[in-house]
Symmetry: C2
Subunit: 375 residues, 2 copies
């Protein structure tokens, strides 16, 4: 094992070894595969010392697993998010029994990434809410016309939701073309705000083909939107930062990310949805809350707490980001989750309202409950 | 089960059910989660029929699994790759026991994607090789200077390799900054070509932060490169198409993709690296060959054959793309793999040459062997 240096980038891999696998050999293989990608002796001696990852610790973990801490030279990353993904879990993703469970980036490397441009404080300012938990609704389903989606936005805004976003599957379908939808939904929310004196914000989903992104961001900004929704992995994780360049807040959706959340292989949810999504510029990150319609085996309360922590805790000079638990949150349970997760949380509540006999009354009831409990 | 319509987009999901899970309920849940994202009764009746995925077949598969064919309305996708990923495996990625094992896109939808701009025939033309298998080397490891990497490119070109690419971990590190590296490596290959009368092509790795991509492509084109390497998933799958807009061939690397290749959950390698990488514009797709340093449990010979098929077989009007098996191919075994995989294959041989006592002799021997066997 090699000595500890504070300037290195450290990845903790939890290793699940096959019966014929030796944990130390597996760890040393990762350290080479992710760097020189050559067997011992294949690289010049000087690079063996400087470039090959250093195995700093190897300790037994639960259920026969091992925990390996590998330190890499941050010069391998530069300020390059795709290369950070590649270094941390690129080629070893193609192996098995390797799970990234912690990522520790040195301050000089952290300083090279933008992080959230607004963060919790900036997004609160745009919402005009200084302290309590925030409420977000989703206008859905895909297939509705722009007019029908706008009507839903209006009703959620009238009820007093802080944010209304497009469903992540609503993009630019013929049923509700992007520009028409953004105009109608934004106008509907503005009308509700005039009527109530409220400050509801509408976040359109700008995810689309690469060539359309600038135009969609331009439409969103021109219309007066304060922020947007992005499907982070389908779009490309590094592209999360684009809306911020247009002055728009970034709400990131976890669609497609679940492939990484294998029990024995992949990247832990708090590292991917927490650290990495924050690093690249998410002001808020949606994730499936425990007890919803996604499996608690993946999103346990402990895992949700770790995601919250990774988004909010000090991380170099990066601003904290809002955790946005969703994925089937029962409206009646929101006060419970405010107590568990704290006020610096945005609760995304969708399906459980749509199945109520009176959507408007249910939405108003939820808003009142959050205003009471959310201080 | 609903009736079969040729215009629909069909996804086959292989389901691994927990002891308390019913296969049909699981399949119907996928059909809703990927579309309306609401429980039964939550969406207007008209959308229930048109937008919710239709479960067309549910049949037992091996090891107690089930195979569910779900048909979606292609209007949900438009011509939008991120939305295709989202529809096929977006939110259900966050569930478990769901594996995409086949993807069948209707002709009208296929026609909306570019596919390879050059494909096998176009890339052969740039290499000046009409028929035989091609050979590709990688200049590595990361950490070498641009001069040292260029020297390796020179040696592979002198030996007669058809292609020399940057290692996928070589990006824009201070040890070999992008522009200097591309200039030196391209010049070194051009010098070798002048000396030998050969036509070796140099493909630089252009993967980098979003904001640098246009500049890197511009450098590559200005330098005279015929193509580039992209780390497809770290960059964003939709961005694979960008180099083609600059007239550059696209060689896609599978780094980071392995998270999707779970035995019970994810996307089958031939669907992701084959169909989807081809759809978005890869002229060649690198994957870990069986018998190399990646696990045969994931990349069996059968899986490799399926990837080859997905890249080459008729797919609407899309051009076929080159399979590029690599990941620890033993140089001595290349003739064997030519016989197994056929001549429309690029063999990526790296590590097994670097560990030879005489790199140049080993490289020359391999080239001769391919020229003999590869007709």
């Amino acid at each position: 094992m090699t000595s500890h240096s504070p300037e290195r980038l450290r990845v903790t891999y939890t290793l699940t070894c096959a019966s014929d696998e030796d944990a130390e050999a597996k760890a040393r293989d990762i350290a080479r595969e992710q760097t020189v990608e050559l067997p011992p002796g294949g690289a010049p001696a000087e690079l063996e010392a400087r470039v090959v990852g250093a195995l700093e610790a190897l300790t037994p973990a639960d259920r026969g697993r091992w925990r390996a801490v590998i330190a890499y030279d941050p010069a391998l990353v530069g300020a390059d998010l795709p290369q950070l993904l590649n270094l941390v879990f690129g080629n070893v993703s193609l192996k098995s029994g390797i799970r990234v469970t912690s990522l520790d980036l040195p301050p000089a490397l952290l300083a090279r990434f933008p992080g959230p441009r607004l963060g919790i404080a900036g997004l609160r300012e745009r919402c005009g809410i200084a302290r309590r938990a925030l409420l977000c609704a989703a206008a859905k389903p895909v297939g509705l016309s722009a007019t029908a989606l706008a009507e839903l936005c209006y009703r959620f805004a009238r009820a007093g939701f802080d944010l209304v976003k497009d469903d992540h599957g609503v993009t630019d379908q013929d049923s509700a073309p992007f520009r028409e939808r953004v105009e109608r939904c934004h106008d509907a929310v503005a009308r509700a705000n005039r009527e109530t004196g409220g400050h509801t914000l509408y976040f359109p989903n700008v995810t689309g083909p690469r060539a359309t992104l600038d135009e969609r961001l331009d439409v969103a900004r021109a219309e007066g939107c304060a922020g947007v929704l992005v499907n982070a992995l389908p779009l490309g994780l590094d592209t999360i930062g684009a809306p911020a360049e247009w002055g728009l807040a970034v709400l990131s959706h976890p669609t497609f990310a679940g492939a990484f959340f294998g029990a024995d292989h992949g990247i832990a949810p708090d590292v991917l949805l927490g650290t990495l999504f924050r690093l690249t510029g998410s002001d808020g990150v949606i994730y499936p809350n425990v007890g919803g319609r996604f499996p608690d085996s993946v999103f346990s309360e402990e895992v949700c707490g770790k995601i919250n922590h990774a988004l909010r805790a000090p991380l170099g000079g990066l601003r904290p980001a809002f955790p946005v638990p969703g994925g089937g949150i029962d409206a009646a349970r929101v006060p419970h989750w405010i107590e568990r997760f704290g006020g610096d949380t945005i609760f995304l509540v969708g399906s459980s309202l749509y199945t109520q006999p009176d959507l408007d009354a249910a939405a108003r009831g939820l808003v009142e409950s959050v205003r009471r409990h959310g201080a």
